[in-house]
């Protein structure tokens, strides 16, 4: 029981992590959206990290873009959520200062599972475990087709920014 309690004590989570993405191929009409209802959990005892993203919760400035994102690109009815499950490599014991760490894991998005590695900066701020990450995903890696007619507006490379402040559970 003691060891189980200790495991629990090492877990941090939030339901309000933020995922932002940007496709800025066309300077006139930037495609960007934010989702701040993302679930994230980190287990410092097992070095595991997991994210769950409800695709419908991405908010765009232009409603029609949001509709097309859900209907035509990520197909959020067929694939309602994206998940990432990974492990911190070389997680230090002391996180009172900012550390740039590597996370290796599996991204499950649009029905495609892909191994990815991302850089994460992580540190404790006022008792919260705060992490940020920037990485690039390719639409083509996840079976998302960009029709020729919009290929001058939509980039295959999607810049993703993740911010999370996790509290102890």
């Amino acid at each position: 029981m003691f060891s189980a309690g200790q495991l629990m004590a090492q877990r941090y989570m939030t339901r309000n992590a933020e995922v932002y993405f940007l496709s800025d191929k066309d300077a006139i009409e930037v495609v960007e959206a934010t989702n701040n209802q993302v679930g994230a959990v980190v287990d410092l005892s097992s070095n595991d990290i997991a994210f769950q993203i409800q695709m419908r919760a991405f908010k765009f400035k232009i409603a029609l873009m949001e509709e097309h994102f859900n209907e035509n690109y990520v197909e959020s009815e067929k694939y309602p959520k994206a998940t990432f499950k990974g492990t911190f490599i070389n997680l230090p014991a002391d996180l009172s200062k900012q550390h740039d760490l590597l996370v290796s894991g599996v991204m499950d998005f649009h029905g495609v599972q892909k191994d990815i590695e991302v850089n994460v900066s992580l540190q404790f701020i006022n008792g919260e475990l705060v992490g940020t990450s920037n990485f690039v995903l390719l639409c083509s890696d996840f079976g998302i087709k960009i029709p020729k007619i919009v290929s001058d507006k939509l980039a295959n490379e999607i810049q993703v920014t993740v911010k999370a402040a996790l509290t102890k559970i």
């Binding site: 060891s3 097992s46 769950q52």
Partner: protein
């Protein structure tokens, strides 16, 4: 034995720890709204449950040509078009206001559409419900000199409740109880009010193309020989536009006209080809 027990227990708990990371953050039971039941704010002629998005202005230009059986002289109807222009503004997620002008009887139109209930993916309403209220003003020169030219005689109204369910990403069906009131009818025996029920649906053939159908059944119209409206068409979406191409036995494009004043007969080929083109502007 005790060591073994502890070992099993630890093993089980660490397995558990692996699996339930997702359980901790899972919100599968969250009630999320179903979107995009229809591509457009109209199924074909009739209103769908969809509203223009909040703070967007939707401009729709629609044409119904003459009957296809009018022959080569009229270029199968293309020489005789009826036109409708409309502007609909999404005041909020649940309210839209519209203005329109129809070339048929030079009719002006003001409308209000509300989204009352939103279908949820789970743990919520199985259907979406919207209401539509429109007032039509016939602005033709007064054509009946024996009757007093009252402004109120030019007005008619439509009230509709749209109830739709998106069964899956392809199939959506809608039922539309409708009530039409006319301040003035041609003869004393005609009812000023009548009811109708619309049945409509769409089936997506691909991400950007759907096939649509719509039928309006009229009730309590004993002294009027009007035909029920039947329309078939396609929705084609390209970026900011939705093109709707269809064939219908109704030439009118506003509710009183296509629900209550359809004269075309499908078996006789009195079919009108038409289109709606919509463009949205984010304001």
């Amino acid at each position: 034995m005790r060591i073994l027990f502890v070992f099993i227990f630890l093993g089980a708990s660490s397995l558990f720890a692996q699996d339930d990371l997702f359980d901790l953050i899972s919100d599968d039971n969250a009630a999320t709204e179903v979107r995009s039941t229809f591509k457009g704010t109209r199924v074909i002629n009739g209103q769908s449950i969809e509203l223009p998005s909040k703070q967007t202005l939707q401009f729709v230009i629609a044409h119904r040509f003459g009957t296809i059986n009018s022959g080569a002289y009229e270029l199968w109807g293309l020489d005789q078009a009826q036109m409708r222009m409309s502007l609909d503004y999404g005041v909020s997620d649940r309210l839209a206001l519209g203005l329109a002008r129809n070339s048929f009887q030079k009719t002006f139109e003001g409308s209000m559409k509300s989204k009352l209930i939103k279908q949820k993916v789970k743990n919520g309403s199985p259907v979406s419900v919207s209401s539509y209220h429109a007032m039509f003003l016939n602005s033709l020169h007064w054509q009946n000199p024996e009757r007093e030219n009252l402004f109120s005689s030019r007005l008619s109204y439509a009230h509709q409740i749209m109830i739709a369910r998106k069964f899956n990403s392809s199939l959506s069906l809608q039922i539309t109880p409708s009530f039409i009131h006319r301040n003035l009818v041609e003869t004393e025996t005609m009812n000023n009010d009548f009811f109708a029920i619309g049945y409509g649906g769409r089936y997506k053939l691909s991400k950007r193309v759907s096939i649509n159908a719509e039928y309006f059944q009229q009730f309590n119209r004993p002294d009027e020989a009007f035909i029920n409206s039947l329309s078939l068409g396609f929705d084609i979406e390209t970026g900011g536009h939705v093109f709707q191409l269809h064939v219908t036995n109704s030439q009118g494009m506003f509710e009183r006209s296509f629900i209550g004043e359809t004269v075309g007969s499908w078996p006789q080929g009195d079919i009108y080809f038409g289109f709606n083109i919509s463009r949205v502007f984010a304001l």
